[in-house]
């Protein structure tokens, strides 16, 4: 486990509230996993390419033309809270 590993800071970045029991269990689990994956640091592969698509294929975007999509009503169907056709959320600041 890296010395500066801070489970609270990571949880804040991941936007997941953790209770103290979870903090302790997850720190332990992540410590075990990070220790295992640390094996990769022993590899001398600095000049290797980074693989994104395993077949090495350039990702292709479709033509930028209007196509049929979900209509507004369908798009809002799963909204937890809605007002005047918009998704409604609490204020960003207290």
């Amino acid at each position: 486990m890296p010395k500066d590993f801070d489970i609270q800071a990571i949880a804040k970045l991941a936007l997941i509230e953790l209770n103290s029991e979870e903090e302790s269990k997850l720190s332990e689990d992540l410590g075990i996993i990070l220790e295992h994956v640390d094996a990769l640091s022993t590899l001398s592969i600095d000049d290797s390419d980074m693989t994104i698509h395993p077949l090495g294929i350039e990702l292709e975007l479709r033509e930028d033309t209007v196509q049929d999509g979900l209509d507004h009503k369908e798009s809002m169907r799963n909204a937890p809270d809605e007002k005047d056709g918009f998704f409604q959320v609490p204020p960003s600041m207290d």
């Binding site: 949880a11 592969i45 600095d46 980074m50 395993p54």
Partner: protein
């Protein structure tokens, strides 16, 4: 009466075509098996009997008019509940999507609908396809039809169990690190992970986008080929979808087979190794050239995977924020709302992987963890390319052991991760891989072998698998679920 538990998809098609039985009779048998088994096995999160009966009647009308749509018309298929089927829930076995209703069809669903397939239900999985036993489902685990004290494997455990018990003649799963092949192995059915990009991921709830691939389960390799041919093809709605054509490999006795040394050693149970050796001897007897090959980087596969997959999962699952769909837990601010929603909506394993991925992508660690894993992945791909210059197919165990008991691997996450030791390399390399059942162990649990081949040789791999199946000649299915309810 039709005995669906012993019927292959191909045989069911012949039976429908020859009018030995109707599509309605077939579907009724399917739901009879469900009635006998679901209360114990819990393979499905949703069964769609009324809709399936209506669809079967449509098939029967087409057959009576001589307008059958093909080999999948009237065939009962189940779908892993991480694929969108319009008008129905897609829970991903997570509380966060408990009430979500799919507003559109996944491409694979649209393609199967065009073929007249009858959808019988949506199957259980580890939450967001993260796990190897279905013990991470928020709705309770599925059980193994061969022994309900054992896990069915995961994450597509419900799909494997549904085919094994005979509720479905085929099923769709998704495979990110072995989530089709490992449960197929544990449940004694065939599970196929196609070449990355050959089956559209549009409408599959993303877990790790550079690894996820949809694929079929069925009783035989021939049946999985029928489903694969129906669902594959280029799709403009998936930017990783590919247009490249299939290449052919030798499919019979001239095929050269490599035995993957690193997957026949440490970490693999002796009886599992012996079973693979049994199949190798059968191939040798047929005159195949068998070579031991080495891919040293496969030893790093778990480490590479558990950086890349969590990193991609942390980005993909950021969309579950309580704003547009799914669960919302109130908070004073929108940030607090999201933090509380994700705290309540996600289970332990999903939180673990999101946090691991967030850490691996965070400032100061990106190059050391994620960057290094991407470079190591490239090394894995190069090793596979070199090996496939010498051999046509690779053989290995699918899993380090046969199906394990519930709770056996839940205390240490790494122990569970190790059950994907043999399957992860194919995901990293993007190559096709299949698990085929070969026999039963002393406890009566299924053995299997995994076969792999170079990218875009899916059809040859499926044909070669049919050939291996015939040599092995294992056709047992679990029998105790067949009595009338």
């Amino acid at each position: 009466m039709v005995d669906i538990s012993n019927l292959t998809l191909k045989e069911a098609h012949e039976g429908l075509k020859n009018k030995s039985f109707t599509a309605l009779e077939l579907i009724e048998e399917s739901f009879k098996v469900a009635a006998n088994s679901e209360s114990v096995l819990h393979a499905h999160l949703l069964l769609m009997q009324d809709e399936a009966v209506a669809d079967a009647k449509e098939t029967d009308k087409r057959i009576s008019k001589g307008k059958m749509l093909g080999e999948l018309d009237g065939i009962p298929i189940s779908i892993k509940d991480n694929m969108n089927l319009k008008g129905y829930g897609t829970t991903c076995s997570s509380k966060i999507l408990a009430n979500y209703v799919s507003p559109y069809d996944a491409t694979v669903i649209s393609k199967l609908k065009e073929k007249g397939t009858v959808f019988i239900g949506k199957t259980n999985l580890d939450e967001f396809a993260m796990g190897s036993s279905t013990e991470n489902s928020a709705y309770g685990p599925s059980k193994n039809p061969w022994d309900p004290d054992c896990v069915p494997g995961g994450s597509s455990g419900g799909s494997a169990a549904a085919v094994s018990v005979g509720t479905a003649l085929g099923s769709l799963g998704s495979d990110t690190g072995g989530s089709i092949r490992q449960p197929a192995s544990f449940c004694g059915v065939v599970g196929f992970k196609p070449t990355y990009g050959t089956v559209s991921r549009y409408g599959l709830i993303a877990f790790a986008s550079s690894l996820d691939q949809i694929g079929p389960f069925a009783k035989t390799a021939e049946d999985t080929k029928i489903i694969y041919e129906a669902i594959s093809g280029y799709d403009t709605r998936d930017s990783t979808s590919i247009k490249l054509n299939q290449r052919e490999l030798p499919e019979g006795q001239s095929a050269k087979v490599g035995v993957l040394k690193e997957l026949m050693g440490e970490g693999i149970a002796d009886d599992v190794k012996s079973e693979v050796e049994k199949v190798i001897k059968l191939l040798e007897k047929e005159g195949h050239e068998i070579t031991e090959v080495s891919l040293p980087m496969t030893k790093m596969a778990i480490s590479i995977y558990y950086l890349i997959a969590p990193a991609e999962c942390s980005a993909n699952l950021a969309r579950f924020d309580g704003v547009r769909y799914g669960l919302r837990v109130d908070g004073k601010t929108s940030y607090e709302m999201t933090e509380k929603t994700r705290a309540e909506g996600f289970g332990d394993e999903v939180k673990r992987r999101i946090l691991l991925g967030t850490y691996a992508l965070s400032a100061g660690y990106y190059d050391a963890y994620y960057g290094q894993a991407l470079k190591a992945r490239n090394q894995v791909i190069n090793e596979f390319k070199n090996v496939f210059k010498k051999v046509d197919y690779l053989i290995s165990p699918t899993t380090p052991s046969t199906a394990f008991k519930f709770g056996e691997k839940t205390s240490n996450p790494l122990e569970m991760y190790m059950s994907d030791l043999c399957t992860i390399p194919a995901n990293l390399a993007g190559i096709p891989a299949i698990s085929i059942p070969t026999g039963l162990d002393k406890q009566g649990m299924p053995y299997s072998v995994q076969l792999m081949s170079p990218e875009l040789t899916d059809i040859s791999l499926l044909n070669f698998s049919s050939y291996v199946e015939k040599l092995v000649d294992f056709q047992d299915t679990p029998t105790k679920w067949r009595k009338d309810p």
